[in-house]
Symmetry: C2
């Protein structure tokens, strides 16, 4: 039995993918709103819907807490207490250090929490946008904190691999530093960029501005929680970005056009190693 | 007769669209490389290919200089000298002030230069990616500098409208200030963002980082020229952006999470007025 606490875009996509792979005899899910639960059931993301997380997790072999970050520790502990012996409890939150601290020493005996962060998403949210291939080919970071977690981490890694993900293992702090730069910073930069464009110029923003600021269309309350939980790394990432902008501004002020071209070429090459230049969809 | 000097993505798309609308008895084009010219001919972007801009422009009713920004003034003057009496000479460059300064008092008698900036593009370049609908529904800014240009500006505006564009008229300086914020800044910000992400974090950048930095995959030499020609406005735009980042950093450092959420919501709403939130393609 798999229990997904919070069947939204990610939770729903996990349910659909796990069903496609036939990994569990039953997939249970909870949502805050009744209509969402009905959608999850009719889309086949879950077999049985619950309004209560503890009921959904009862006897489950795996519990995936896919709620907002701030609720993850509480749900993880409550669900672990009623899950099967040896159950793996995980989450899909975008930060890992704060969750690990909150859970430290509080997990019920015999149940293991190992954090997960599947690096997949979309600016669309909600179970209605879930897809059974959303996770396919994307990266997933898992963050065991304890040697005793090794077996649980191995089972969890295998689970994500079966859903088509590339699995990486690191500490919660490493995860959070990496994500601050690769994910949280782009969100903050996109919001700052929107605010830096005068209202009179907005109508003339074309595909460049559209794409550069796309993530600023995300849910502000989710990002507020993520930044709050990853404050120090977020500040470091902003400061690295400020330093790079200062380099560019210096080149422009000095009229060092060769230097600017080299800078732009360096950035282009670095980006090209990660993303195909033609804008094709890479998870 | 229409002469397109530099048949790349934009020049080629103009040729295809003008042919679809049947606006000219002949569409001529030049390219730097022979293979590109063959591609332009076989795609139907031009009827006749030339290696020499002056030959292509001879007797033309409209000349569109679609080369790199730094070459626009020179080609405009040379082509104007041989174009038909009353010909409209225009360009598609991303900056307008520097071009207007370079051309001031240098246009041959009876020929009118009125700058254009069709705000359409793609990270793909070259005539092979040209499309007859690339300009459809997109904005086009035209920048007449002289009252004597009025008739030419009217004809030019009508031309872009016939190709499906929404036409706006403003001064070269207004154009450059607006584009510095709406286009040049996103390019610089994208490059700075790539450089601010540590190499170890790059593999974990997902769709957020991919989209936010997409424009950093553009041609560095083109952007170097644009920024050089729009230096003062670019510096102003960078400084506005630095100020916004400082606001965000202040909110994070002070732990003002309500303030951060308000900031993110403000940016989201402002962006949403210009771009559909679902990432659908808007020119």
């Amino acid at each position: 039995v798999l229990a997904i606490i919070g069947v939204g875009l990610i939770g729903g996509s996990i349910g659909l993918a796990a069903r496609r792979k036939g990994l569990f005899s039953e997939i249970r899910g909870t949502t805050r709103r009744k209509e969402t639960l009905e959608a999850a059931l009719s889309l086949g993301a879950v077999d049985r819907g619950f309004s209560n997380a503890v009921e959904a997790a009862e006897g489950a072999d795996m519990v995936i807490v896919a709620t907002g970050v701030s609720l993850i520790p509480e749900y993880s502990i409550k669900c672990a207490a009623v899950a099967a012996e040896d159950a793996v409890i995980t989450d899909v939150g975008s930060i890992k250090g704060w969750i690990a601290e909150e859970l430290s020493g509080r997990m019920p005996a015999g149940r293991r929490f190992v954090g997960s962060h599947p690096l997949a998403g979309s600016e669309r949210s909600g179970v209605v946008n879930a897809r059974d291939d959303l996770l396919d080919g994307a990266n997933c970071i898992i963050t065991p904190t304890d040697e005793a977690d090794e077996d649980a981490a191995a089972r969890l890694g295998e689970f994500w691999q079966t859903l088509g993900m590339k699995v990486f293992k690191m500490s919660p702090a490493e995860h959070d530093a990496i994500l601050a730069a690769a994910s949280h910073l782009p969100h903050l930069a996109a919001a700052a960029l929107v605010e830096a464009v005068p209202d009179t110029a907005m109508p003339f923003g074309a595909s460049g501005l559209r794409d550069t600021t796309r993530v600023a269309g995300g849910d502000a309350s989710i990002w507020r929680d993520i930044i709050e939980a990853n404050r120090d790394h977020a500040v470091e990432a902003i400061e690295s970005f400020e330093a790079e902008l200062a380099v560019i501004k210096g080149l422009v002020l000095r009229g060092d056009w060769n230097g600017l071209e080299e800078y732009l070429n360096r950035a282009k090459a670095k980006r090209g190693k990660r993303f195909a230049s033609k804008g094709r969809r890479l998870q």
